[in-house]
């Protein structure tokens, strides 16, 4: 499978007459763009805002972040099952508006959305302070059910991301990157000496607005399966998650999965990258047993020597993490896990809800409970009062002057467990 990512760099985003990119400036016709995503009777009103790097702006509460992409060559289209048909993607060429992100915003589930600060101390904790953001907020119908609201906003976000990329499909890419990897037997024949590595992408699949989608289907109804890494780059995995903001994998994270990037960059050099196993995290113990047994068995059948296991969320998913690590190690497959910690605001508590002695290689992506001071921003996009309801926030978090004193977990992507950022908790 060969995929070319054609990156068009977005250095600025502005409102304009016509939606197009030129000279690194993405111009957006606001009315046309709103019309393009408003084909949903569940919305009463749709708003678009812009937030740029360095601006004194806070976006809150953020539901999902999506990188604008569309397919320009090859079968299907991005976000299969939502935008494209649910048939295999990852082949051909995909246009990417690099440096731009669609941010969906709305108080769907009080508590479980996060914030993005475009400047100030909060900006260093999330990658979306560096992207030119097109923020989508909607006013849903009054009596809308939460799950319908989530679904409508999720689909509108994906549609907007595709729409913006599609309007720029003729743009000359600034950069082309090719991701190519053959079938497993082909790669094994090429690199017989290299350690064979699989990747378990653990994903929250718990229902009740804690969902991840694979080719448009709800992952909680799927047993672990194997996909080619290229498929993720075309949006095979989509977030439908309204869970604590710091460590949920947004769709942007799935598209730019850093584990895939790292394994790909070392493929054929010091490792042989077998493939990606999307691994649902169930709420029930029986579901956890099933999912982790399938994962370990798949790794064994693929002949893996080692597995990278990334977690999503904290608390009960720590059990899935332990079970995946233990079951692989019991089969002689080496593991490394990527996870954050909930070590308390003072950092003195043990950081996991479950542990197992087999988890000997642990990459920490930070203590979610550490407090951060966020000064007031000139512009607030969304619903500032939502902070008192965010995980990691408390009513006293929002001060009269607009500044915030919150746990790191209120900042979206701050402790992302795909290992997207450089943060990590260490002993002092």
């Amino acid at each position: 499978m060969r995929l070319e990512l054609r990156n068009v760099f977005v250095k600025d985003v502005q409102w304009g007459e016509k939606t197009e990119i030129s000279g690194g400036v993405l111009r957006i016709n606001r009315e046309e763009t709103i019309a393009a995503v408003s084909n949903d009777q569940r919305f009463v009103e749709i708003n678009l805002d812009l937030a740029k790097p360095g601006e004194s702006a806070r976006i809150i509460p953020v539901k999902d972040v999506i990188e604008p992409r569309c397919k320009v060559e090859g079968p299907g289209d991005v976000f299969p099952g939502f935008i494209g048909d649910p048939c295999t993607v990852g082949e051909g060429a995909t246009l990417v508006l690099k440096g731009c992100a669609v941010v969906t915003c709305g108080p769907i589930v009080a508590f479980q959305e996060g914030l993005i600060d475009m400047s100030g101390p909060g900006s260093r904790y999330n990658p979306f302070s560096e992207t030119n953001n097109v923020v989508l907020t909607v006013v849903p119908q009054e009596d809308i059910e939460k799950h319908a609201y989530e679904e409508a906003l999720r689909i509108a976000g994906l549609r907007l991301a595709w729409y913006l990329a599609d309007k720029c499909r003729d743009a000359e890419p600034d950069e082309k990157k090719v991701y190519e990897k053959g079938s497993i037997p082909e790669e094994n024949a090429k690199y017989p000496e290299l350690p064979k590595i699989a990747y378990f992408c653990m994903s929250i699949a718990q229902g009740l607005l804690h969902d991840t989608f694979l080719y448009g289907t709800d992952l909680k109804h799927v047993v672990p399966t194997v996909i080619h890494p290229n498929e993720k780059m075309d949006g095979a995995m989509v977030s439908g998650n309204c869970v604590s903001a710091c460590d949920k994998n947004t769709t942007y994270h799935h598209l730019n999965d850093p584990v895939i990037m790292e394994l790909y960059s070392r493929h054929g050099k010091d490792l042989n990258f077998l493939g990606v196993i999307p691994a649902p995290e169930d709420t029930r113990l029986s579901g956890k047993e099933r999912s982790t047994s399938f994962c370990a068995n798949l790794a064994k059948m693929l002949g893996a020597d080692g597995v990278v296991i990334s977690e999503e969320g904290y608390g009960n998913p720590d059990t899935d993490l332990c079970m995946n690590a233990k079951k692989c190690e019991d089969l002689g497959i080496k593991t490394v896990v990527i996870s954050d910690e909930a070590a308390g605001t003072d950092g003195k508590s043990q950081g996991l809800a479950d542990a197992t002695p087999e988890m000997t290689a642990f990459v920490s992506t930070g203590n979610v409970n550490e407090m951060v001071e966020l000064p007031a921003m000139k512009k607030v996009i969304g619903y500032p009062e939502a902070i008192s309801n965010l995980s990691g926030g408390a009513e006293e978090s929002l001060r009269p002057d607009g500044s915030l004193f919150v746990e790191l977990q209120a900042i979206i992507g701050s402790t992302n467990e795909l290992g997207f950022s450089r943060i990590g908790a260490r002993w002092i």
Binding site: Q112, V308, T345, G419
Partner: protein
Amino acid sequence: MALKVVCYINQFFAGLGGEDMAHTGPCIERKAVGPAMQIDNLLGGDGWVAGTVICGDSYYGEHIEEAREKCLEYIRDMSPDLFFAGPAFNAGRYGVACGDIAAAVAQKLGIPCVTGMYSENPGVELYRSKTFIVKTVDSARGMKQALEKMVELGKKLVSNEPLRPADEEGYFHRGIRKNYFHERNGAQRAVDMLLRKISKEDYRTEYEMPVFKRIKPAEPVKDLSKATVALVTSGGIVPRGNPDRIRVSSAETYGKYNISGIEDLTPEIFESVHGGYDRVWANEDPDVVLPVDVLREMEREGVFGKLYDYVFTTTGTGTAVANAERFGREIGEQLKKDGVDAVILTST
């Protein structure tokens, strides 16, 4: 401003003698003595050693309260900016004395305190959470390096300069996790660590697995029909309006609410404030998380004796284990005191 420094050393390093003088009680010299002279030199223009408190190791160990009080008194009188003890290397009694006095000075006087020990010194595990203990070799041949590290760390602490992690600063960590930015992202570090693990090269995990306490379950209830049963939940069901302001996640408190006379938790009187699950249905009927309605029925049917008059509730999401443990202990004590025989814990 030059720093005023006070040091603590034992009878041996003060030149009073070895084991034969270990019973010497605390005394003070208003100058630098023994290793404190080297500390004075290392401070250069940044400070000076105003006094050295000396105590025999056996005395300190055998009269720990009095020794601590007396030494504290000497130290307080001199109102230092910075305090050093030892280094104790692998000397056990000396290590305990250094750790104890450094911890006490840090706590009572609120000034930076630094001592130094070898990893196997029992003073390390006893006092590492309460004072900075620089890592040293096991004997006084490492005196120079130990003092250099202690002075460097001490100066840094006084200046309020942000510290790097414990392993980089060279002290035994105090059991606190703090966020730092690494050079490389988590995924890059993970792949590296995995390849090293596979090829059996050295690698260092970023978090050693915590060891969980295993609590033995209580004996089964002998006669349920006479038992008082309580409901305790981490599902965040509280009286409407959340009167105790229990946090939606990372809770640091729990609530105790009277349910006597309540047959059914209706949305008019109770709600969920849990920040970790979709509360749509729990808010329509809080009994789905905290089943008062069903237990009332069973109470009437005589399945068990009585439903306890109170429920305890907190939000179990992102909650620090240390807090959860405290909640459990306190709630357990109250239930025990009130003669509760069995508890149904509901989680989400």
